[in-house]
Amino acid sequence: MPKSESDILKKIRNKELRRKIYAQIQNDKTKERLTLRKERAKEEQAHPELKTKRLEENVPDTIESKRVYDETVNAEIEGEDDFDEYFKDLEKEPKILITTSAHAHKEAYEFAAMLIEIFPNCTFVKRKRQYSMKEMAGYCSNREFTHLIVINEDKKVVNGMTIMHLPKGPTFYFSIGSLVQRKQISGHGRPTDHIPELILNNFTTRLGKTVSRLFQSLLPHKPEFKGRQVITLHNQRDFIFFRMHRYVFKDNERVGLQELGPEFTLRLRRIQNGIKEEVDWEFRPDMDRDKKKFYL
């Protein structure tokens, strides 16, 4: 606000009046800005080169654009990894076993039910306290399961998920936050049994590629396009956003989206080689200190 305006406002001693005049000033400013924008839009419609020039000149600084250099970004994957078997054998379909942490509550079972609806070929087994994670992984590999998912719940809040790739690992641990259940999303749809498509956004580093390959290996190779269901895993600043939608072709150009839910955010905390063996990568709180350094 210019000095003269603030001086005028300071001199008005009636609070109500001052508020009204301040609102009027703000309103005038927005109107002025809008008219300027309209004029600019007209000009740019007539001369599109002006718009391109303006957009080239006014590039806003974001944390992403200031990202710390990482030599692994978009580098080719060298050699093979544990997921190579899935990508080479196009006939083999994933088989997932889902269970919860010991002493789980209703929330963990609800989350497990949601996962069963999302991922095809899932089996839920109630957790038995006498078996450790390594023992469960052994039993699952004997029964030809390709993944073991253990949902972690603490004080009736689902807060983490361990995904083990079987039989030789690796083991991933993600923390879960911002969970929105399907029923909380207004206008949500219900997923069908069709195999969904998968969109993986912005997994660029070597570590990010390992994570993206894990998510790819959770779904069969060929999605059923008839179902028009799509799972999106969008990575932004090392937060992985999970969303599920159904798309509708309204006409030749427009596409409508219906959210199927649930919504939740994953954060990679640890990758271990094998079944919970040597640490491949582990999150440390000091990694968050540098806001411009990203690992996925």
Partner: protein, 389 residues
């Protein structure tokens, strides 16, 4: 400097040539001169350990039960491959070393099978030996001053020292487990790495060894004192998987665990002397380059790092792109390079000063004359003043 690292994901060997100060994660820092891949195979036949035999051969054990001999002088060309070692595909090699006294190459598998190769005569078949029956073997080492003395251990297989006589291993020392804990429960045993600390002055029947365990303990054994460890310290909560003795620093060792810690410890006090910072994944391989006292590390974070052992500063960080199972520094001509640089600087300084002197000769003479004349004038003035008084 030249570093060799075995890349697990591609089953290859990588030769890194880089100057000191190299850091691939900083664009403005010096970058490696070359990273060359040799001996490429598959992940199922990845290199597990490798060693140098004199300056002639590089010997590597591979998953799947083979030992390969590569020519060091002919860009790591395969010279000979010994096949069919180990009971099955999961019976991996755990140790590989050349006995410094008999110059034979020994390798050992998880099941306790020992294979002896003579690198001087590669046509000779490998000799197969069997360690005394026990649980899995996770480490097998030889003594540096006695050619026929070896030590081994593993999970629920406590430290044993054996003597090789007529292709048979005779047990000469068997460690006793530490006393039961305060709850009167037996302490579990999990030997991960062993090193002999023998010296020439030692009694021939005395064995001094140091081990690290899968329960984060460091133990020192002296057979002349007791069968139980003389020192036993739990230094870290997680399993220790590597061990290297620092020569010239009494009672100092360098270990790394299955998490991100790589640190120097004093095995007589159990105190950590300092950490080697920087790794974000488990360090699986350590190598100490004695001439320049540097430590090379490699592991699951896909970086090869070099540290100065005394200051613990990282001066080389190179992204390799695959998991690293073993690492070795071949040469470090840093001192020579430093001296060369110094000489160059001195030479350039000399030439500069000579040229400047040549230019300034005339000016400097006139300056000196002025100065002398001024001094004389001042002296005259002072004398006059004195006379006036």
């Amino acid at each position: 400097m030249k570093i060799l690292a075995s890349a697990s994901d591609s089953g290859s060997l990588k030769e890194i040539v880089c100057p000191r100060g190299t850091d691939t994660s900083i664009q403005t820092a010096p970058q490696p001169i070359s990273i060359t891949t040799y001996c490429k195979e598959t992940r199922s036949t990845r290199i597990l350990q490798f060693i140098l035999y004199e300056t002639k051969y590089l010997i590597a054990t591979r998953a799947g039960g083979s030992i390969c001999v590569y020519d060091l002088l002919d860009s790591y060309k395969l010279v000979h491959r010994f096949l069919g070692f180990g009971q099955n595909s999961t019976d991996l090699f755990v140790s590989l070393f050349v006995n410094p006294l008999d110059k034979l190459c020994y390798s050992c598998t998880l099941s306790g099978q020992v294979f002896v190769i003579d690198p001087a005569d590669l046509d000779k078949e490998a000799v197969k030996l069997q360690l005394p029956p026990s649980n899995s073997v996770e480490c097998f080492v030889c003594d540096s001053i006695r050619p026929d003395i070896f030590a081994y251990g593993g999970k629920e297989n406590d430290l044993k020292v054996v003597k090789l006589e007529k292709d048979q291993f005779q047990l000469v020392f068997k460690a006793r487990n530490v006393p039961d804990n305060r709850l009167d429960l037996r302490e579990p045993v999990w030997v991960k790495k062993i090193e002999f600390l023998s010296e020439d002055s030692d009694n021939p029947d005395t064995y001094k060894l140091i081990i690290v365990t899968g329960y984060g303990q460091i133990r020192y054994y002296d057979s002349s004192e007791s069968r139980r460890p003389s020192f036993n310290f739990k230094v870290l909560p997680d399993a220790l998987i590597t061990l290297k003795k620092v020569k010239g620093e009494p009672s100092h060792i360098i270990c790394s665990d299955i998490k991100t810690t790589t640190a120097k410890f004093d095995y007589k006090t159990g105190l950590m002397q300092g950490k080697f910072h920087g790794t974000v994944g488990c360090t699986q391989a350590l190598d100490i380059f004695e001439p320049t006292k540097l430590l090379a590390t490699g592991g699951l974070d896909r970086y090869v790092r070099c540290f100065d052992i005394a200051s613990r500063k990282c001066f080389v960080k190179v992204y390799v792109g695959t998991h690293i199972s073993d690492v070795m520094v071949l040469e470090d001509n840093w001192r020579e390079q430093r001296e060369l640089k110094k000489k160059k600087k001195e030479r350039s300084k000399k030439t500069k000063s000579e040229s400047e002197e040549g230019e300034e000769d005339g000016e400097s003479d006139s300056d000196a004359d002025d100065l002398w004349s001024k001094l004389e004038e001042n002296l005259l003035k002072a004398r006059k003043k004195r006379k006036l008084r």
